[in-house]
Each structure stands twice: as C-alpha cells, then as structure tokens.
C-alpha cells in the first residue's frame, strides 16, 4: 500500500483517525493516519445490523409476554445468557429462568439489583423497556 492509497473513508471510527502502515515514495514504510476504509465500514455495519435485529426480535418477544425485560437489557449490551451468567456469577440456567417474565417479576430485589448495577440502571429502569429503542449502547 502506497501513501496515496491509504483510504480516508470516514465512517465507523467517527472523527478518530487510526494508523495504517504504507510505503512512501522512497520505498520506506511510514505510519499514515487513516479516517477509515469503506470495506471495514461495510463489515462493521453488518455486525451492528445483526445486533439491532436481535434487539428488535427481543422487544417483540417481550411485548408478546414470552420474555422478561431483562432480556432487552441483556441484548442491548450484546450479551447472551452465558456471558450474563459470567458477569453476575449466577448459573446459566438461573439466568435463563430470569429471562421468563413470570420468574423475573417474582425475583428478590437483591437479585434484580445485581443485574441493575451491572448495566448501571435502577431497578425501576431494569423492569421496563425504554419507549424508543435506547440508542445509548447502539450507534
């Protein structure tokens, strides 16, 4: 890659430039700042679309009453039951039970608090899905 070929396609890295290694006129390698590259933006966008799709599916499931609001906060943080279990120290089967609305509703405050503090939320916030999809963790 020559210096002139270092791509400057603004995208996912916002205004942060990243370093690429490129060959100067004299054949020496130098560090060149890059604002991004279209193929990377495409691939990264694809991954985010996937995350958003999972969130939308989860919201529908919660509205249908098949999953608890905990599921929403879990997928917004790009977690699954296994990872959430790692973070909370609960067994995975327990986390999976908590994803059921009936079970979640009956949980002791101490258990809910554990989830809430992981996500930096209050228990009240944990018990609902924000009206608009929360853009905090998303793009």
């Amino acid at each position: 890659m020559k210096i002139a070929d270092v791509p400057q396609d603004r995208g996912i890295s916002e205004d942060v430039t990243v370093v690429s290694y490129a060959v100067a006129e004299d054949g020496r390698y130098v560090k060149v700042g890059s604002r991004g590259w279209e193929p990377v933006n495409v691939a990264n966008g694809l991954a985010w679309e996937q995350v958003e799709q999972i969130i939308c599916e989860t919201v529908v499931e919660i509205e249908n009453g098949t999953r608890s609001t905990l599921a929403y906060h879990m997928v917004v943080h790009q977690m699954d039951a296994a990872l959430l279990a790692h973070y909370t120290g609960f067994f995975k089967w327990r986390v999976k039970r908590h994803l059921r609305p009936g079970v979640f509703g009956r949980l002791k405050p101490a258990v809910k608090e554990k989830y809430a503090s992981l996500f930096h939320l209050s228990i009240a916030e944990l018990e609902q899905v924000p009206a608009l999809p929360q853009r905090g963790m998303l793009l």
Partner: protein
C-alpha cells in the same frame, strides 16, 4: 522524573509495548516490537465461535507478543493477574503513584472513550495507565490519536470484563534495568519461528494450510449457510483482517515494515526484498477485503463471487508459503 510519551500505533499490544519500552529508554518501533514478539500468524478455527461466527485470526494469541518481545530483549516484565478487584486497583494505584507506567489488559466494550462502533465484547485490548489524580486515571490507548482519562469505576469494569479471554485484572510493567542483548539474534530467532508457524506446522487450520482451508470453506458458504448468513461470515473475515488494530491487511503490512527494519538490523539487503514481497501480498489481502465487502453490500461487480474470494485467499496462501520458505532457506543457509 521521566515523562511517558504517547505515540499512536496500529495495533494495541505492540503499541503498548513500544510505548512502555520507550519509557525504559529503548527506542523500539512498533513494527520491531511486533516482529520480535512473533506477532504474525494465521489460523482459521471454525469450532471457536465469536457471536456465532467462526474465529479467524491473523495474529498470535493475545499476550504472547508481550512475553516474546520482553524475552527477546532480555527485559524483566512483571505481570500479575488478580482475583480481588480491590487489590488489583490498590496495586495499580501504588505503581502509578511511583511514576511507573502500567500496561493493562481490558475489555473494549467497557471503555467509554472508544468510538461506539468498535465497542464489542473483545477482552484483549491493551492500554497504558501512566498517572492519576484521585479517581481519574490518565490513559494512553495506543490506537487512539491522543491520551485521555478514565474514571476509576469504568477502568475497574474494563479490567474485570468477563467471557472469552477475560483479562482478570492483568497488569504488567517493566522493572528498571536496560537490556543488554543483541537485537540481531532475537530478530533472527523470531523470523525463523514465524516462518515455521506459517508454512511448516502440519495442521490444517494453521498458517498457509489454514488459509487454504478457509478458502475451501468460504466457497461453500452460500450453499451451506444461505445468502444472509454467508455474508455475515464474510463480514467477520473482513473485520478480523482490517478493523482497528491491524494496521491493514491482517498485520501483513505491519510485518512488512518489520522486515524492512530487519534490513538494517541484520545488514542484509535480502530482507528489503522480502518486505516488498509481503507488501504485495498485503495488497492482495486488501483486494480480497474490497471484493468481499462488495459482496456483503450486494454491489457486486461481474467478477465478484465467493469462488473468486476463495481464489484470492489461495493466491495469498501460495505467495506467503513461497515467501516464508525463502526466508527460512535464506536464514538457515
């Protein structure tokens, strides 16, 4: 009192290392740290899944670079992991207050200053903490252009991220004492090691064999997985190859820069030639990424297809095999 100097680099681990070494008075560039640490690699490991997508890696295991480079330079790298979060923060505070810059392994998801698009659950991101005022820490993140600050609670969360490659509060720093080794010996050893990893490991997932295996699998993705899922898989390969921290072309350009530096270290003009060859291979990897992205976005040109992508990867594999065999033959002659 020495000042810690932040310099932006392509890759977090080699960058952290180069910046820490500079503080120790050793002027080692990022490519040199990367090459000496035997950072270049390739493996396709379909049974390890990240977000349900197969693992493709263009680099060695996280953490290896640190150990290999320090060993190559004969430096004493202190490394600790913790069970107790409070103790880990106490130890960090203690070191930082003595003026010692400390390298940390962190989970990128929990670092607030990273652009949102990069914040996935990836737990092997390296940063340096080089000072603090109360509960605000000064951070040098080598992939960021400038230094920044982070709150204690955020830093603690990032140091104790969970899941694959959990950092467990890992911190590392160099104790004083300059290195007294010949760079040339270390470099030669590392060159041989990487070349052997790439073309002599008799296992089908590693090195050029891994590339060919990936090429074969990739060609079948559309039939096996369906169009949408095949694109997700392809997107994952591009991200592992090109996204932040690789310096472009899956570390190939970074390693080519290292080969170029070897020309002077070893007083060997052949190294410059090897470097140019790897640059060309890197450019071919980038052509693959560009084509793959067009497929992902459904902006195919006539020649774009999964089969053609596979062929490009095979082309890279053939050329890398030739290159690394030539390097081995040259060094072991």
């Amino acid at each position: 009192m020495r000042e810690f100097c932040h310099e932006q680099t392509a890759h977090c681990e080699s960058g952290t290392l180069a910046n820490l070494l500079k503080f120790q008075g050793l002027d080692i560039s990022e490519p040199m740290a990367f090459g000496l640490g035997q950072g270049l690699f390739f493996a396709y490991v379909p049974f390890i899944r990240l977000n349900k997508l197969p693992l493709v890696t263009y680099r060695s295991t996280p953490g290896r670079l640190l150990e290999q480079t320090s060993r190559g330079l004969g430096l004493d790298l202190q490394m600790r992991k913790f069970r107790d979060q409070n103790e880990s923060m106490r130890v960090l505070d203690n070191l930082v207050d003595q003026g010692i810059p400390v390298g940390l392994q962190t989970g990128i998801f929990w670092l607030p200053y990273i652009p949102r698009a990069y914040r996935f659950h990836f737990n092997a991101h390296n940063i340096v903490v080089y000072g603090r005022e109360g509960d605000v820490y000064r951070v040098s993140d080598p992939v960021m252009p400038f230094t920044t600050t982070i709150a204690r609670s955020d830093l603690q969360a990032a140091r104790f991220a969970r899941g694959a490659l959990a950092p467990k509060g890992k911190l590392y720093y160099f104790t004083d004492g300059a290195a007294s080794v010949s760079l040339a010996d270390g470099v030669r050893q590392s060159l041989v090691y990487v070349a052997k990893q790439m073309c002599r490991v008799p296992f089908f997932l590693i090195g050029v064999r891994g590339m060919r295996f990936l090429a074969g699998r990739l060609e079948k993705w559309p039939q096996k997985l369906g169009d949408a899922n095949a694109r997700l898989h392809l997107g994952q390969v591009i991200r592992m190859q090109e996204e932040i921290g690789t310096g472009g072309a899956g570390f190939r350009l970074l390693y080519a820069a290292f080969l170029q530096e070897c020309e002077e270290v070893l007083h060997d003009p052949c190294m410059g030639e090897f470097s140019s060859r790897l640059t060309e291979i890197g450019d071919q990897w980038r052509s693959f990424a560009a084509m793959a992205a067009r497929i992902c976005k459904d902006r195919r040109r006539d020649e774009d297809s999964f089969t053609h992508c596979g062929q490009l990867i095979r082309g890279c594999a053939d050329r890398e095999e030739q290159l690394f065999q030539d390097i081995l033959a040259h060094l072991q002659a």
